[in-house]
Amino acid sequence: MAMPLIHIENIVKKFGPFIALNGVSLDVRAGEVHALLGDNGAGKSTLIKVLAGVHQPTSGKIFIEGKEMHFRSPRDASDAGIGTVYQDLAINPLMSVTRNFFMGRELKGPFGTLRMDEMNQIAHDEMLKIGIDFSDPTQAVGTMSGGQRQTLAIARAIYFGAKVLILDEPTSALGQKQQMGVLKTMMRVRARGDIAIIFITHNEIHSQLVADRFTFLALGEVIGSGSKDDLEHDEIRRLMAGGVDIGDLAKEIDQVMAEASV
């Protein structure tokens, strides 16, 4: 099997006395979607912030294509090929699609002028590649749907050299139809074969639709992992609930209802 594109080993992250991550390891290969699942507060966002250079890990190692990395800033991480699409997307609603696409990395001509036509063309083409035909790249992002904004942020990360694409709950704020749109976008990126995708979600159905591998976090630790074929549906649900058996939960709920009806 090929070397993983990104390999992380025993990442520990403490916020003062609070242990947000307690020895998390993870491998993701190119052309693979790796779902990172877990309940609220499990440490998913903390893990990706470590990968994105926002937080420095207390201990542990990060390897990209076999080389150990030390990220001191988000810049370091993005230079190393980690593209992060945060929940808030880092997008400016009042600005046009193109101006957002190239924000901070504009194509310049003489005297710092923008090569606007070329930028419009690239923004249009890159978004078309992963699924939206945006006829007017001068349109303000504020008029786009949530799914389209997500696609813009993904296309931007890929165009600027992301080898590892991290998506933090990309479907959580969207309606049904747009959620499927984003999943389709992810599958198109996966089909390129050269990008490793880390997909953070707490929606088991979405993860089962697109992911090749799964890692479950609970209270800062990995409580289970495996490939699509290894894991049974019920097992996934059990791990999603933080390792509690769904059957037990159902019993507890019955008990509460019984008490309430007394």
């Binding site: 880092a90 400016n92 609603p93 009042l94 101006r99 924000m103 990395r105 035909d133 349109q139 008029t143």
Partner: protein
């Protein structure tokens, strides 16, 4: 697009006609108000507001407003305010006039107009840098930091006048325009060909049937240059993209590598530059200066920027709108000279009403662009 793959989300945007697009531009409101004012003034003054001298006088104040409003608008687009503009004008005017009268500081001898301007500009740019640095480093609101400088700089100006000059005004400086090309550049006349042409076509005559007005004040040219550069920077350059991004969502801009602090500090320096140009044109035009110069100009500048379609919340604005706003404000401020029965205080009534209307209009524009959030 040639390749149409069925119906997509983007097809749901209603196609607009050219006229609809024009009406919905952010500067359309400012434009209509301007047209109304021009017509009203034309009728109210029996055309006097736009005869040769009326035009020159109107353009003089319009250019003053335009210069500082351009600076204020650029800064507001980046999400900050500058309330120190008016005091900066007073400070810069004092600094230049004082050097012209009493010589360079620390006994460096007489000041040429160029030296007086250059030394003053160094000081005001430094002050702009200082204000900007305090704002970005402290994270305090620029409203409060620049309010502090509004008082501080006005106070420094008055104290300096009394200490060195014994009086808070300087008048009767020699007319440097006669001896210095630099003073002529800032305080002289420009576009003489316009009035020459007007004269050749049979207008622009005084009572003795000679050519009446010979040119516009030089600040007209400087306004056009400053507004032109600002327009170019905002719409065509990387810096422009950074300015919009900084004001729209600072964290998103920073996450994408935009140096938001440097952008803001640079724009505080730009408003200081605009204030200095305002003061320099005034000093070299009239050969006078006093401690009250520029009073309340910061508020006029902000009001014009807002009426021109600049959002109070940053991230959006139009230099063309600011041009229309400056024309409107300038004409109304001057109207009292052309319509004798008019009480000058109507200017402030007008500003208040138009400002309120503009804020509502801008809010609608913002909602439309951001899809109603």
């Amino acid at each position: 697009m040639a390749t149409n793959t069925g119906r997509s989300e983007s097809d749901r945007m209603q196609q607009e006609t050219g006229f609809q697009r024009l009406v919905r531009r952010p500067e359309s409101g400012a434009f209509s108000v301007m047209v109304v004012i021009i017509i009203a003034l034309m009728i109210g003054s029996n055309g006097q507001a736009f005869n040769a001298l009326g035009l020159k006088n109107n353009i003089a104040i319009i250019a003053q407003f335009g210069i500082i409003a351009t600076g204020a608008a650029m800064l507001m687009i980046a999400g900050e305010f500058d309330l120190s503009i008016g005091s900066m004008i007073g400070f810069a005017g004092m600094s230049m006039a004082m050097m012209l009268k009493w010589g360079l500081p620390f006994g460096f001898g007489e000041a040429t107009p160029f030296m007086a301007f250059a030394v003053t500009l160094c000081m005001t740019l430094f002050l702009g840098w200082l204000i900007g640095t305090i704002v970005v480093r402290s994270g305090l609101s620029s409203f409060i930091v620049t309010l502090a400088f509004l008082f501080f700089l006005r106070g420094v100006t008055e104290v300096a006048y009394r200490l060195i000059n014994k009086s808070t005004q300087i008048s009767g400086l020699q007319d440097f325009k006669e001896t210095s090309w630099f003073a002529e550049l800032l305080g002289g006349e420009v576009f003489g060909w316009f009035y020459d042409l007007w004269f050749m076509l049979g207008g622009n005559l005084n009572r003795r049937e000679e050519q009446w007005v010979t040119g516009f004040d030089a600040r007209f040219l400087w306004w056009l240059v400053i507004a032109g550069v600002a327009y170019f920077v905002l719409s065509r350059t990387q810096l422009g993209n950074w300015i919009y991004a900084t004001g729209d969502n600072r964290d998103a801009a920073r996450a994408n590598g935009v140096p938001v602090n440097r952008v803001k500090i640079g724009l505080f320096m730009f408003t200081a530059f605009c204030a200095t140009m305002f003061a320099a044109c005034q000093v070299f035009d009239t050969n006078t200066s006093d401690a009250a110069k520029g009073n309340l100009m910061e508020l006029n500048a902000i009001a014009i920027a807002v009426v021109g379609g600049t959002l109070m919340t940053g991230g959006f604005g139009s230099i063309l709108g600011v041009v229309f706003g400056a024309i409107t404000f300038g004409l109304v401020a001057n109207a009292v000279f052309f319509i004798p029965w008019l009480d000058g205080s109507w200017y402030r009534v007008f500003v208040g009403a138009v400002l309120l209307a503009a804020v509502f209009a801008n809010e609608r524009i913002r909602k439309r662009i951001t899809g109603g959030i």
